[in-house]
Assembly symmetry: D2
Homo-oligomer: 350 residues x 4
Amino acid sequence: MSKLRVSIVGASGLVGECLIKALLGHPRVELKLLVSEHAAGRAIGELLPALAGECELKTVSATPAEVAQASDVVFCAKKGAETFQWVPALLDGGAKVIDIGGEFRFRDAAVYETWYKEPHACKDLLKQTVWGLPELCREEIRAAKLVGNPGCYVTSAVLALAPFVAQGLVEDAGLIVDSYSGLSGAGRQFNAKLSNLFVDVDENLRAYGVGNHKHTPEIEQGLARAAGRDLKATFVPHLAPLDRGILTTAFARPKPGLTTEKALAALKDFHTPARAPFVRVRAAVGDVNVRDVAFTNYCDVSAQVVERSGQLVVASALDNLVKGAAGQALQNMNLMSGFEETLGLKGRSL
Amino acid sequence: MSKLRVSIVGASGLVGECLIKALLGHPRVELKLLVSEHAAGRAIGELLPALAGECELKTVSATPAEVAQASDVVFCAKKGAETFQWVPALLDGGAKVIDIGGEFRFRDAAVYETWYKEPHACKDLLKQTVWGLPELCREEIRAAKLVGNPGCYVTSAVLALAPFVAQGLVEDAGLIVDSYSGLSGAGRQFNAKLSNLFVDVDENLRAYGVGNHKHTPEIEQGLARAAGRDLKATFVPHLAPLDRGILTTAFARPKPGLTTEKALAALKDFHTPARAPFVRVRAAVGDVNVRDVAFTNYCDVSAQVVERSGQLVVASALDNLVKGAAGQALQNMNLMSGFEETLGLKGRSL
Amino acid sequence: MSKLRVSIVGASGLVGECLIKALLGHPRVELKLLVSEHAAGRAIGELLPALAGECELKTVSATPAEVAQASDVVFCAKKGAETFQWVPALLDGGAKVIDIGGEFRFRDAAVYETWYKEPHACKDLLKQTVWGLPELCREEIRAAKLVGNPGCYVTSAVLALAPFVAQGLVEDAGLIVDSYSGLSGAGRQFNAKLSNLFVDVDENLRAYGVGNHKHTPEIEQGLARAAGRDLKATFVPHLAPLDRGILTTAFARPKPGLTTEKALAALKDFHTPARAPFVRVRAAVGDVNVRDVAFTNYCDVSAQVVERSGQLVVASALDNLVKGAAGQALQNMNLMSGFEETLGLKGRSL
Amino acid sequence: MSKLRVSIVGASGLVGECLIKALLGHPRVELKLLVSEHAAGRAIGELLPALAGECELKTVSATPAEVAQASDVVFCAKKGAETFQWVPALLDGGAKVIDIGGEFRFRDAAVYETWYKEPHACKDLLKQTVWGLPELCREEIRAAKLVGNPGCYVTSAVLALAPFVAQGLVEDAGLIVDSYSGLSGAGRQFNAKLSNLFVDVDENLRAYGVGNHKHTPEIEQGLARAAGRDLKATFVPHLAPLDRGILTTAFARPKPGLTTEKALAALKDFHTPARAPFVRVRAAVGDVNVRDVAFTNYCDVSAQVVERSGQLVVASALDNLVKGAAGQALQNMNLMSGFEETLGLKGRSL
């Protein structure tokens, strides 16, 4: 069987590293070009020492046309202006593109421009862009040439709340997403910029970006997609002293009659093994553990109705680098390439 | 100046250790008896190696009458039946008592019995018991013979939300307390029982006790005290991989007109330096850091109104062993003994 | 191609979990029986929640004869009396056995009895037992029916020092192995017994077992194997607040003329890619990072001669559950089964 | 009693913060000027949020003459050229100086210039400079006007090995200092420069600076001071994922007859309570825990002779910011000012 030719633009970051690992072990993938402008010509095992012995490739400098010609699928892990330059050129060259950044996650360019505070330079591409959450958009992803891979918090929030808003089990008002993330959620440069030094993060917990985190509108877009109507959510992200993983505790106001039993059934009805092969419904909120999903493409969820105070509590856990980034991107690649959706994503850690 | 004679019953646990440290450095305290039935006769520096060189006392076995006779104030760090045996006997012996456990935190014995699933054996004492949150009950504490020291999560939740429910700035419905705690929040025995092994907690985040955590009714009692009417709250505690500290993110539905500016003003109006010498109002929710309060008796708080989704977000951080236990107990001792409230609690870590 | 039938006795511990993960993704393995006496009949995804969705097997209770009949290779992860009962019966039944515990690591039963303080009940098996460090014993492993899988510290120490004692580059006297391990190095039961609670390990470092750790004689046996003569080593293990990984800093007295350059060459000459496909020689001692080997079967090593003080410093890092246990066991299984040595161990995390 | 007027030059770093905390709670100190050129005019509680409510001072910009005039003792926490400018000017102005950096730790300017790779601009001051390890240099410190406060690793290494080299119990050759440090050991700027991001340090262990760490010659100077003759040591520092604390495991070759019992006696004979009020001799190497010394000025030590391999193993633990920096500086201030040596350092954490 011929192999899918795959390249990565922006290969040397945290997500790039996780992508390379994931692709190296994928049985139907041939890794072609690892593009890294600022570190071209270096052996990948030198740039990312954990990969020494795993990959003989060197990073290269290449034009979009060269990358497109060498590849069936390209993962683009750049930001802003660079993304707007690379993505259309890769598509023009005939490659399918999975964009890891925020530039192609929104149908509405105005939302991007408002929250990312940058003009959107590829508005004409948005019509054909597909938001890459397989549990909600599988068929569109299969047919897509350009997929905007969802944000890590977003995946965690939407997989938790979508079953309830889609099935009309909760009120529209009062959706809350309270999330704690490990530090790998942000890229290395971002970590450096925010001075996420060990001495500031260790033994600490704190919120950040309340009210203006860029994942907020994407969470709302995802919930709107599930509900069929516009929804607002309050999103509060926090940093916790761990490397990988997000735990989201979401709150919603249950409609009359919703019980814990029904809430769990709603999760199972929505996230069937066929529709959500990487979502595991746990028996209780306290059974959702970051440790159980770390280094995997799983997202664990559970729910409980606290009847005395009238709240639905939904928990979800995922690995921000895997189901929150590289693993989900691979899942999208599988769908776009006609492979089995779970190929290279089960039976191994990432 | 004569010194206050102070003893501890249950001296060898995590809170006992923190209490001993705090009392050793208190300028008006003479530490008398450290009672530990199961470890009587051992040098405190042998039992608690961090205290070697700091304290020459040995743990003793003693009757309540002996302890009461030797002491002006006794901290009781026992649970259930032992507490119900010690506390009345200490009071009978003439000592003032600060009880660290849950047995004397509730006015209503039925609440205790429902949530702690044990009969309350000292109902007649509840009338004279004072719940020891100085920011709400200062004058009663000054006059009290028996103080029930508040739970750690409770302190964190009530200091965050009391200003808003007291000043009528939020709806009664929809109060949510989403908290993450370090592992020292539970005693050593409890940690062992729940098998909080390093390999299970490190790099993990998870909820527990949703809907049935014993601090739930105490949070509601505290909020009712502030509001002047009964209130319900949804409380979701979590474990995070750190030793000390609780970060609470609380949510409430703002009444019309509440802005971030007004919310911060409400915090400052309620937690004035005089009424809350250990509460610091930070300029933004993201400025509330567990690291800034660890090993201190401070509780940092801040608030933000997310207007687009209609939620008030309140953050609070404290050290579960200090403001959440031993430090607050010392603050109560100061009040009960006519000392300056902050004596031995500022200018040092604990 | 027919698949190798593989079973695990003692499947529910930390090493068992890592073994199952590793075997599930091995292209030539069919996982047959997961034997767990105390938890028989439970779905593996219920017992080890991280494996939910990955493995439909249930744990079983079975006799050694039944296990042997169903399996070509059996991993035995038991201790003491149970091991002495299982291993000979499995061999009698015709299965090859890889024993994870300490019972079959020594040629000399007296060494086992001295250090493990238990009688050795299978002395007659020791003649055919092979110590399973592929870098030193590859050909014997290929032919073995019973392999004693090396200890985690031992692997780390021997891969660091063997090149130097084998090539006569250091003095026999003065070998020192100073190691720091994450907590997964000990099994869950051992962690519970030693009360390795989070609150005792977090933000702590300490030595343990100095002079009497059971890996001491095995380190010496491995060095003797490499050197061709008996050697003594001082071994000091420590606990560090991490989950996975061992960093060993070994010291030896260089013979005249040994330089850093020659020391690095000695590592490369000994650990050629053919003889040591999972040993990576790093350019400098400071380039040996636990993070680079975590979740992999690699052992990274490097060396430096500090000429002014006359010491050779050798660093090695490995994952105690992978190259220190389950991964190395798989490597041995590959050798014993005629598979490529690296099959199922490269291109994936474990 | 009049108070000692104390100022800090370089107040906004990690050591500065710890110094301020320590000085605020010292009963005989009046904190005068907190000099911070790049952040002058800011409230200390704004610059160091953990100190909000503890200290009303603002950082100032001031000349050395102004600082000297306002102060009896000045702590100088600068480096290189700035130190060489400040220290002589402060002394000229009549203040006593405790220098926290490396500039005044060596008797021999050539050692400084070789290891710090900078010219020493104040060679004439070195004759009157006293190296500030109280356990070795108490009487000189009492009389000193300028004290060079020892390095954190150095304190840990010298307190461990000095008893043995001083009492002639070990060979001169073969001294090894293998140390693991938390991240607060380096200043915030240094952490940023080395990119000690959480994602690089968490779950990692690694060596650095082998053979060229600046503390190497200072360790040797300290051991020479104790032994009365020049000594060499091999020093290997490592980073471990914790905030505060150093654990040193030191090795030496015992002279004939040295047993564990005698080694422990040697520690006790050398570190008597009178000569070493902050050194605690623990019963076993495994009883030396970083957690027991964190946030205190104690250094815990113990020793064991491993007779079968002929090595003395000595363990020591201290808090790099306290006994390794700010606490030891306060101890020196006490000695230089005629206060009790332990004043403000016992009965509290720092």
